[in-house]
């Protein structure tokens, strides 16, 4: 296996990363070892110019070996790992040669830290060229000296923002923010290198604004950064959930003005603590799960760059926005008013000054279908409407166009009935809001061909989504697991818990939204509709209480109608006090649950609320696994994280419950809440 090689040519040397066994270059153990060996040679006989480059134009170095970080079991090993990287970067920096990193393709984490240790960074303009320190996304912070060296390049305020957000910048922007010394087009590298050679060794350049040197200003800056961070997760205890974020800010604040050696030592120490935290392990797991979903085999089909979306409702225009990422979109709708609403909403998404919105053509008829490679429907949830649509447009589109249904509960096989080419119809279920939620469920009907499924997966990945293939059963995977959660929340309401308490408990647990807030966001009419279909299919465990129908009947529709469990009229949603009347009429003893639930006089403990809501979801998830609705537990966990926002720092629903709860405790709790299906819990053992 080849990882890195040293090519010498009088006075010049090239340190070339070129991984033979993997598609990307990684700073793993083997690479580090050979790098260290090559540095010995370089130190013994330093060349005048050292070029650090990659043999792969689309990947400079993708970062440190995440699997190795995940395998760390104690803080000292982790710190040692960081120190090893730091020492290599330090030795590179200390070389007497002029070192130039030629960054072409992705340059992430450890890769960028290595480049930062060089005298000069040259970026090559390519779509794949991205520079970032994304470590916070996996629950750690840069550990090879990135926290120390980045501020020296781009200035402290920008460095803090860059590391804390993990955001990437492209080749041109890297030069603009003086992260890179020069940016060139591909093919110009040699000229650029000689240009940089003439500039010689790096002299420290002041890019930090003057006010940062003042202690109060600096203090205020970090204070504001901290506050902004906590506003992003208002309900979470950051030290427990995402410890890397506060630790990072603390570290950066501490090492300002410190000598390099000391600062590096602090960085390694702090990283050591984070790397073996649960949060980091879980975030790495979520990262790997997401990557797993993105694998696909189909090549891009030519026609897929033009897409027609039917229905301009919230889902429809959201999907149109997603599809406009990689081509033009026709947005079909029968009436002008929803279309006008949709376009206004899309204009708000658009941060490109209208150029992305310009890819979306609104239309009130079936024109333009002959150019569409993909048709996605997000029309009314009614089998008749959808079947009529497919039968009408089937002959207007090209022979090989994909027909995709964004249904949340209607069977794909039913929609295939009566079509001349049912094999090209599949389900592609987005989650609300479609531009933000990364997961899509891909559903094969009875007649859907495997090629179609592969093409849909490929399409979803191109749109930046994580596709998970699920069975064509009612509610598919995510909605089916969500429904028991909502039903449980409704039972808690009946038992006298307040909406704010239930949602608050769930949000403190890490869910992005409470169950009732979610119901409001989805729309109570849609919840009711889905609930009815699911309870028809699966019985009482999905049943939505009768009073819920009353709410929908009275026009309480949730967010879209401003009133639901919350009042959405103001800037912040506030609990709608009037809705209590709906379930107050229901005698609380309706459910023969434990007194614990029925006793509405006092608020339940938050962890009890969370368990009462999540256990039914867990049981349903296990049932889905048993019924093979989804291929395996990992995909299920990924679906929960990326589809409903199950907290990533907990590593996924099944993983979380399998590793952090005892089976007997869970059984006991289920008895307390009066839930059945505890025999399914044994399935957790395999997760």
């Amino acid at each position: 296996m080849m990882t890195v090689q040293l090519l010498r040519d009088d006075g010049w040397a090239r340190l070339r990363f070129d991984r033979s066994d993997k598609p990307v270059n990684l700073l793993d153990g083997a690479t580090m070892a050979s790098l260290s060996m090559l540095l010995d040679q370089l130190e013994a006989d330093p060349p005048a110019v050292l070029v650090v480059e990659s043999g792969n134009p689309n990947c400079f170095i993708a970062g440190a070996d995440v699997a190795a970080i995940a395998a760390v079991t104690d803080a000292d090993t982790a710190a040692a790992l960081a120190q090893q990287g730091q020492s290599i970067c330090h030795r590179l920096q200390q070389l007497s040669s002029i070192s130039i990193a030629v960054v072409s393709g992705s340059c992430m984490g450890g890769g960028l830290e290595l480049a930062l240790a060089c005298d000069r960074i040259l970026t090559v303009e390519r779509a794949s060229t991205k520079l970032a320190l994304p470590e916070v996304k996996i629950g750690i912070h840069p550990g090879f000296g990135g926290c120390v060296r980045l501020p020296g390049r781009v200035g402290w305020p920008r460095a803090v923002r860059m590391i804390a957000s993990g955001a990437s910048c492209d080749a041109k922007r890297a030069m603009r923010i003086s992260l890179a010394d020069l940016c060139c087009r591909s093919g110009q590298e040699q000229a650029a290198i000689s240009c940089l050679t003439h500039q010689g060794k790096r002299l420290s350049t002041a890019t930090t604004p003057w006010w940062f040197a003042l202690w109060p200003a600096r203090r205020l800056f970090f204070h504001l950064a901290n506050r902004k961070l906590r506003q992003r997760f208002p309900h979470l205890d950051l030290e427990a959930s995402y410890p890397a974020l506060p630790a990072l800010l603390g570290l950066l604040q501490e090492i300002y003005g410190m000598s390099e050696g000391l600062a590096l030592a602090r960085e390694a120490e702090s990283l050591g603590k984070l790397a073996y935290s649960d949060s980091s392990k879980h975030l790495i797991r979520a990262f790997f799960l997401g990557n797993g979903l993105k694998k696909h085999t189909a090549p891009a089909a030519a026609g897929d760059s033009h897409c027609a979306v039917y229905g301009a409702g919230v889902m429809g225009h959201g999907i149109a926005w997603v599809a406009s990422r990689s081509g033009s979109v026709d947005l079909h709708e029968v009436a002008a008013e929803p279309l006008a609403h949709a376009l206004s909403a899309l204009a708000n998404f658009d941060r490109t000054g209208g150029s992305r919105l310009a890819k979306i053509r609104p239309t009130l008829c079936d024109d333009g279908l002959h150019r569409a490679g993909v048709v996605i429907e997000a029309v009314l949830e009614s089998l008749e409407v959808k079947q009529a649509l497919w039968q009408r447009i089937e002959h207007l589109v090209a022979e090989d166009a994909l027909l995709l249904s964004n249904t949340s509960a209607l069977a794909i096989s039913d929609q295939q009935q009566g079509l001349a080419h049912p094999e090209r119809l599949a389900g592609l279920h987005f989650f609300n809001p479609a531009p933000k939620m990364p997961l899509v469920e891909v559903i094969a009907g009875k007649h859907t061909s495997p090629e179609t499924i592969e093409r849909v997966k490929q399409l979803a990945v191109r749109w930046g989504k994580f596709p998970v293939v699920v069975a064509d059963s009612p509610g598919f995977l995510v909605n089916r697991c969500l429904m028991p959660l909502m039903a449980a929340a409704f039972r808690l309401l009946e038992a006298g818990q307040t909406a704010a308490h239930i949602d608050g408990a769930l949000k403190c647990y890490g869910m992005p939204m409470g169950a009732l807030e979610l119901a409001d966001t989805v729309g109570l009419d849609i919840c009711h509709h889905v609930g009815k279909q699911l309870s028809d299919a699966f019985g009482a465990r999905m049943a939505i209480p009768d009073w819920f129908a009353g709410m929908v009947g009275d026009g309480l529709l949730g967010k879209k109608g401003t009133l639901g469990f919350y009042n959405w009229g103001g800037k912040q949603p506030v609990v709608n006090p009037a809705v209590c009347a709906y379930w107050a009429a229901t005698p609380a003893v309706d459910h023969e649950f434990d007194a614990n639930l029925a006793d509405g006089s006092k608020a339940m403990a938050a962890d009890q609320v969370v368990l009462a809501c999540l256990l039914p979801m867990l049981i349903e998830a296990l049932r889905c696994l048993e019924e093979k609705v989804v291929a395996d537990a990992d995909q299920l966990d990924a679906a929960m994280i990326y589809g409903i926002g199950y907290p990533a720092f907990r590593g996924g629903l099944l993983h979380d419950f399998a590793h952090h709860h005892r089976l007997d405790d869970l059984r006991q709790q289920m008895r307390v809440f009066g839930l059945d299906g505890s025999d399914l819990l044994v399935g957790l053992a395999a997760c």
Partner: protein, 436 residues
């Protein structure tokens, strides 16, 4: 009426397989949120959506060419998703720019240089720029030479500005564009000249203007305009805009009589009410060879038979249609009676009335050495669905709109159609077509 099959003078038979236009908005009106590029992009993309034909070339007429989109046709084509291998160019013949695009496209096809051409006209008179005085440019040039230092050029810059009073007053590209610099007359003033030449009264003009509104309104209410129109969702509110904004069903002689003449305050007859409106809009057509359209099964909207452009006195540019129509019809041995529908663009009603008179006048023809008159169109032939007085006159678009409208009119009233318009600078353009 002669037989309907008139051979094209040479080359291939050119047909129109699709056409679409925006509803026309008043300047600073409903379409103010879209600039010329955006208007053109939306229409071209719609054109590509309603037809299976893909163009080999794009030609677009535009008068007030935006500084940020030089060769606006190319910018529109690329933004609308036309393949980058397809060339595009912009044409300019003032009010006939849209017609020029159509005839240029037809010429490409007739001579076998392209098979399918997307043609049309686009104009956003709302976005006509305001210009800085030339002395400001001069001063800025000195300023730049000084490079921020105390340099003699700096003083020359100031001296230059101080010597040109009113340097800060912006110049309106719209106003100056509508002025003929060779004769120093505004388009309205040329219309006034025709009114006095031909003794056309204010009442006759107002009557014609009223008829234009009533006819446009009737056509719209009957749904006759639906076939050519696309709905637009205009930012920033994205409200639906699907009707021409300028048509006034309640227009009356009394209301028209109240308006003051614009171009000659004391003695004039030309008012805002009996002139075309300043507007925004775009229209596009897809042209191809007849045999190709038939082989592909594309529906035929119309067939372009022939066209002529002619020059005349710039001070009487409104008579352009007389010269161009006369040449076109007499070259084919036709008279006005052989034509089912005629569109003379209503730049000014006085100019249309003058054309009618001149077309029938033997004396006028003799004076200009034109031979026998081809005759004037009567009321039942002329501008039956209303004209620019009611609908609006986005200068670069109108030529294409007239042809598109005629195609639809000839479906109702089969026969030959003549679209003709006057061109600032003293020209006329005329296109002869028939239903597909």
């Amino acid at each position: 009426m002669t037989s309907r099959t008139i051979a094209a003078p040479n080359g291939e038979d050119v047909v129109i397989v699709a056409g679409v236009r925006t509803p026309i908005g008043k300047a600073e009106g409903a379409l103010a949120g879209l600039d010329a590029v955006e208007l053109g992009r939306q229409v071209l993309r719609q054109l590509l959506a309603i037809t299976a034909a893909s163009p080999d070339a794009v030609i677009i007429g535009n008068v007030i060419q935006p500084a940020e989109a030089t060769n606006i046709a190319r910018v529109i084509a690329l933004r609308a998703g036309v393949d980058r291998a397809v060339p595009a160019h912009t044409v300019h013949r003032n009010c006939a720019s849209g017609m020029q695009a159509v005839t240029d496209g037809a010429m490409l096809i007739a001579t076998g240089r392209a098979a399918v051409v997307a043609v049309g006209g686009v104009e956003s008179m709302t976005h006509a720029p305001l210009l800085l005085n030339d002395s400001v440019r001069r001063a800025l040039a000195y300023w730049r030479r000084a490079r921020g230092k105390l340099h003699p050029a700096l003083f020359r810059a100031w001296a230059h500005l101080l010597r040109s009073p009113g340097f800060f007053k912006p110049r309106s590209a719209l106003r100056e564009g509508l002025t003929d610099s060779t004769v120093g007359m505004n388009m309205g003033q040329t219309a006034e000249l025709l009114a006095s030449d031909f003794g056309i009264t204010r009442a006759a003009q107002d009557q014609f203007a009223l008829q234009s509104h009533l006819r446009a309104h009737a056509a719209r209410e009957a749904g006759l305009l639906d076939g050519e129109m696309m709905p637009l969702f205009v930012p920033p509110d994205f409200n639906l805009f699907d009707r021409d904004e300028g048509i006034r069903p309640q227009q009356s002689m009394a209301a028209l009589a109240k308006l003051r003449p614009v171009f000659d305050r004391r003695l004039g007859t030309v008012t805002a009410g009996n002139s075309s409106q300043i507007s925004d809009g775009a229209a596009m057509l897809m042209l191809t060879r007849r045999d190709k359209a038939e082989a592909e099964g594309w529906p035929l909207l119309g067939r372009l038979i022939d066209w002529r452009y002619a020059g005349c006195d710039p001070a009487r540019m409104g008579l352009g249609p007389v010269f161009s129509s006369h040449r076109l019809l007499s070259d084919h041995g036709l008279t006005m009676a052989d034509v089912a529908r005629v569109e003379i663009n209503e730049a000014f009603t006085t100019q249309v009335l003058a054309c009618q008179e001149a077309l029938a006048s033997k004396a006028f023809h003799q004076r200009h050495g034109l031979g026998e008159p081809v005759g004037a169109p009567d009321d039942a032939q002329l501008n039956v669905w209303g004209g620019a007085v009611a609908i609006g006159h986005p200068v670069g678009m109108t030529g294409a709109r007239l042809i598109l409208s005629l195609c639809h009119q000839l479906k109702v009233q089969p026969g030959l159609g003549l679209a003709t318009l006057c061109i600032g600078g003293g020209q006329g353009g005329a296109v002869l077509l028939e239903a597909g």
